[in-house]
Amino acid sequence: MIVETGHYALVLALALALVQATLPLWGSRKNDPALMAMAPSAAIIQFILVAIAFGALTWAYLTSDFSLANVVQNSHSQKPLIYKLSGVWGNHEGSMLLWVLILAFFGALVAVGGRRTPQNLLATTLAVQGWISGAFLLFILLTSNPFARMLPPPAEGNDLNPILQDPGLAIHPPLLYLGYVGFSITFSFAAAALINGRIDAQWARYVRPWTLIAWIFLTLGIAMGSYWAYYTLGWGGFWFWDPVENASLMPWLAGTALLHSATVMEKRDALKIWTIFLAILAFSLSLLGTFLVRSGVLTSVHAFATDPQRGVFILAILVFFIGGSLALFALRGPLLKAGGIFAPVSREGALVLNNLLLTTSCATVFVGTLYPLALEALTGDKISVGPPFFNYTFVPLFVPIFLAMPLGQVLAWKRGDLLGAAQRLVVALIVAICGGLILAAMQGEPVISAVFAGLSLFVIVGAFVEIWGRISGGGLSPSVMFARATGLPWSAWGTAIAHAGVGVSLLGLAATGWGVEKILAMRPGDHVAVGPYEVTLDKVEPRPGPNYDETVAHMTIRSGGNAISTIEPSRKFYRARQMTTTDAGLRTFSLGQIYAVVTEQNSNGEIDVRLYWKPYVALIWIGAIIMALGGAISLADRRLRVGVARRARQAAMQPAE
């Protein structure tokens, strides 16, 4: 009964999405407030309906209802509770339902939080949102119905793919989807602005929080995915330039560009056409990512099931939304008036440069990801584009971004002074050179690591130069400086912190060159030096688990002869699917990590062990968290909340006393 309710709610949600997609649009054409007022209510009810459907599927998983084909294929009654819960989206159907749930959630948020948005813009935005959710609900109901029954129900399920039985599954997809789908809001706002033909600085202000939210979650989602791959695949790598990873990186690059160009639009009323284009691009790339991952074009752990019908359907959605929005853009774009002008050397100029480099690097990732697919479709030749391709294209384009980041921050709006800006960055430059030299002396080869570490220090210190300039001044007392610091707009702090986060991640990446890798066969009692530590294999023993059998290697880590920690790398054999996964043993010491993986025990009692010492590796993910934190601080800036400007205007209109 609960399952039928969920299914029914999903159908109702589709019907409502169609209403939401049409009537408010008509209302905004005819300027009919009643029709336009339908949009927020429809969006909220649609969210409730999709939530009911999602709840019903979750219920089926929790109670191991094996009359549902989806539950049979992806669950098992002995599976731990957390994986029964996260297993809801650990499959194609469920993950699409999560996608739509988050889409509806954002729609409802816009409806609730957008009361200060002009009714016309709000209604059109939600109508576009209705088109998107309608298309995806139709996709779910026609090709990927999670509520399909299986009769007669089997006694036991097939279990979830063991590689997905990890806490990462509970966190990574929801975060990533909040990012992907968050860009649907900026997309809808852009499409609405084009439909209504009105785009001004105010528009950028409405869109700003949504871009930031999507960007924050996408940043965290990508970082989480990379950490998950790092500890679960057992190769010690955290980024493989795999098409699935690139699919999430492309919207991030476009979204980052959008975040910066929207600032120019908001502050200076310039770059309007470009900003609208980026808003369309960011979500188009999210859709492309969904297509690549979900259609089965790529084979990976993310493509849960391959079914040509689904691929064609998602491709149709892709063509409709990307083609439609670009056509709209081509039709309406020229109507937009160019705004404020600026000199090439200025804050705006730096942000344009940032946009150029970000979108171009995004394009190289696009080529590297899609070229093999296109070539195969056209000629039948199969090629693989590996990390070297991206090292030669993406990295050279990103280095100027790192150099320009601090520079852009200290340039003035409209017309900047390059020499003055460079002088203000002398401190950062000195720190970068000294720090790079110190690290090179401490860690040694390769030199490129020290160079990039120096660059990262330049980015980190440079991020705060502008703020320091605003706080400090000739001989101010600390209390005055503190007051000035707290009085600065939060968005200034957010920018500085997010930029510093980029530098922190870069430092972690730079330090990978100093890592140590040891591959060897070990017997219990053997010990080996890895970087500054010594690792001893104590014993190898079996350990039972709920739905797997585990072989655990107990290892002790010593520093200078003293035992400081233990790690337990293991291999898990999952009974239901008859397959093995590797769990790395990880321990963090002052930002570096000891990483151990074991393989099958050989007949002679030896076990093959892969050990790594990865100095500063934790900084890669800490940097991403700092970036997201900067975004959140910026989001919390009261001055930039929607509606503040209007309140300020109203206050100004009060008669002067």
Binding site: I341, L356, A363, K382, V385
Partner: protein, 148 residues
């Protein structure tokens, strides 16, 4: 500076960045892509020995021979041809006889291959797509092979 000059600088720098990116991409695509071959394709297309490539197929039953210091040799086969592969290093979890495999390395002679990496596969249903396609082409593909 006039508006026109500013626009020229903007467009000029945009074209400059795009030009650099296009150059880098062409360069990287020429030297850093690796073609995929099945054993039958190696026989028919006869790439020169020393060519870097990915080789994919099924690991022939009974062909895995482990040597000293994690060296291993095995035979990668499709319906028509076989190639013997030598490799030193750790093997992925799902490296088993009868399973699909993709090895990247250098072709030593038309019948032998030296791999420097053997790709990790995620689960037992995950047949490398290139291998599946190559087998399909030869009519030896059963999509739903029963599990052992």
């Amino acid at each position: 500076m006039t508006r026109k000059q500013r626009r020229l600088i903007l467009i000029g720098s945009a074209l400059g960045v795009l030009f650099v990116a296009a150059g880098l991409t062409m360069f990287a695509l020429r030297d850093n892509i690796v073609f995929f071959y099945s054993p039958a394709e190696i026989a028919s297309k006869a790439p020169a020995p020393g060519t870097r490539m990915r080789l994919g197929g099924l690991i022939k039953q009974g062909s895995i021979v482990r040597g000293e210091n994690r060296s291993v040799t095995f035979v990668v086969a499709d319906a028509e041809r076989e190639i013997s592969v030598s490799y030193t290093g750790l093997l992925p979890d799902l490296f088993r006889e009868g399973q699909g495999v993709v090895a990247e390395g250098v072709l030593v002679s038309p019948t032998s291959f030296r791999a420097d990496s053997v790709l990790a596969k995620h689960d037992e249903n995950y047949m490398p797509r290139e291998v599946a396609d190559a087998l399909k082409k030869q009519g030896h593909w059963q999509p739903n092979e029963p599990k052992k």
